[in-house]
Amino acid sequence: MMSGPTPHYHLQEARPDPEPESSAIENARRATLNILEDFAAEKCELESGQRATLNILEDFDAEKKRMAGAERAVLNILEDFASEKSQLEEFQHSFLNILEDFSQEKNRLEGTQRAVLNILEDFEGEKANVELVNERLENEIRDRKHIEVEMQRTNMELSAANKELEAFSYSVSHDLRTPLRSIDGFSQALLEDCADKLDATAMDYLHRVRSAAQRMATLIDDMLNLSRVTRCELRRESLDLSAIAKSIASELQEAEPERRVEFAIEDGLTAVADPQLIRVAMENLIRNSWKYTSGHPTARIEFGRSDANVKDCFFVGDDGAGFDPRYAARLFGAFQRLHTAKEFPGTGVGLATVHRIIHRHGGEIWAIGAVEKGATFYFTLR
């Protein structure tokens, strides 16, 4: 940029030299002037160069100013960047914290993982056990299913057997009674129509035939009633046991008004049970008390609720003939009696029937008694 024209010296037109000597001086002066002249040109050139330089510098200054603006912008940017940076640093910091936390977490996780692995290892062993147990269970389930099927089959067989029993009972009832009607009816016909041809012994025999036929009819009926108790469907209703006891008591008193029997029936005793069956059970118990007190001139029959041996049980008790407690276990068996027919008539199915009825209700029955000290029958209903 500073390359100016190379300075060259212009020699001025020589002027007449007055003297030689003076000419040397003259020469020297001229040369000096030339040099000066040259130098002035040179100076001019330099000045213009300087000017150019100044111009350039001037330009440079604007440039510099521009630069300064740019620099300021950059500084701003840098400043901005610095705040950004501190933010970043903060972020990085927290990130590091997170990473630190995470690494703790990671340790924990690794611990857990290790534990899980241990468990899994244990589990491998356990699994074998479990599989064994599983297999056994499956076998058991299979067995159970088998048993279930078996049970269903047995149940079906049972209900079929029950139906058969019912049909059997029905035909027993129908078919056995028919010939008995003939035996009794024609014996009676003989007694009436041929009385003049029969002596006293023959008449006595015919009477025995009749009473045997009638006794057999009673046996059949008792047997059927006993089986009916087991066969019929259980119906549960709220029952007033006290009222049932009272109605049985008054029936008995009406039938034998000459007997002096005091009834002590507790009021308000209730139960949820089958009305027909409970009536049958209570009638058997109270009738027994009525029958087994008949040898005494006066008697007392009681119906109530007791908490004596078992909580919340009912009882029917009397002060009659009682029974020998050694044979108490036989009381509830069918056709089992503790008294002879001569002492007291009966078939021995009454208590067996009661027993079945109480058991069908999920209850229990037991008796306490002693000879001539009366008897008390306790029962529960569920």
């Binding site: 009972s169 009832s173 129908h174 009794d184 016909a189 036929a213």
Partner: protein, 147 residues
């Protein structure tokens, strides 16, 4: 007095003889017609088969019906009687052998007017027939027969 027949539907000859005897003992002198199975009973009642042409205005006044019968059961005989306009009001007494039958029948409406259990004790049977005779042959007015 015009006497109408009593139809006894009974397959057992002994029971037939004893029923006849019990009726006689009660001085019930209506003619006794015996059908020995359910089909014969229906023939008599509807004047069909061997009874075709019978004058149905002559009764019966009452039917004594056993339940266990050959061919057509007692209950089926009763059902057909009740389904027929002419016989639907005819008094029918069912003779049962057991209490159980009686319970079973009383459980639903079989359309019978009463039930009598044939007791083993003949004297009791005579008494039952006496009460029956009183009720169905004397006290109970038959509705006029329709054709």
């Amino acid at each position: 007095m015009e006497t109408k027949t009593i139809l006894l539907v009974e397959d057992n000859a002994d029971d037939e003889a004893l029923t006849f005897r019990a009726l006689m003992k009660n001085n019930i002198s209506n003619q006794l017609v015996v059908a020995r199975d359910g089909a014969e009973a229906l023939d008599y009642l509807f004047a069909t088969g061997k009874y075709s042409g019978r004058d149905v205005s002559l009764g019966p006044q009452v039917v004594l019906l056993d339940l266990n019968l050959p061919k057509v059961s007692g209950l089926e005989v009763l059902r057909q009687l009740r389904a027929n306009e002419r016989t639907k009001l005819l008094p029918v007494v069912i003779l049962t052998s057991s209490n159980e039958d009686q319970d079973r029948l009383q459980g639903y409406d079989s359309g019978a007017n009463s039930y009598v259990r044939k007791p083993v004790d003949f004297n009791q049977f005579v008494e039952s027939v006496r009460q029956l005779g009183l009720y169905w042959l004397i006290l109970n007015e038959q509705p006029p027969a329709r054709r």
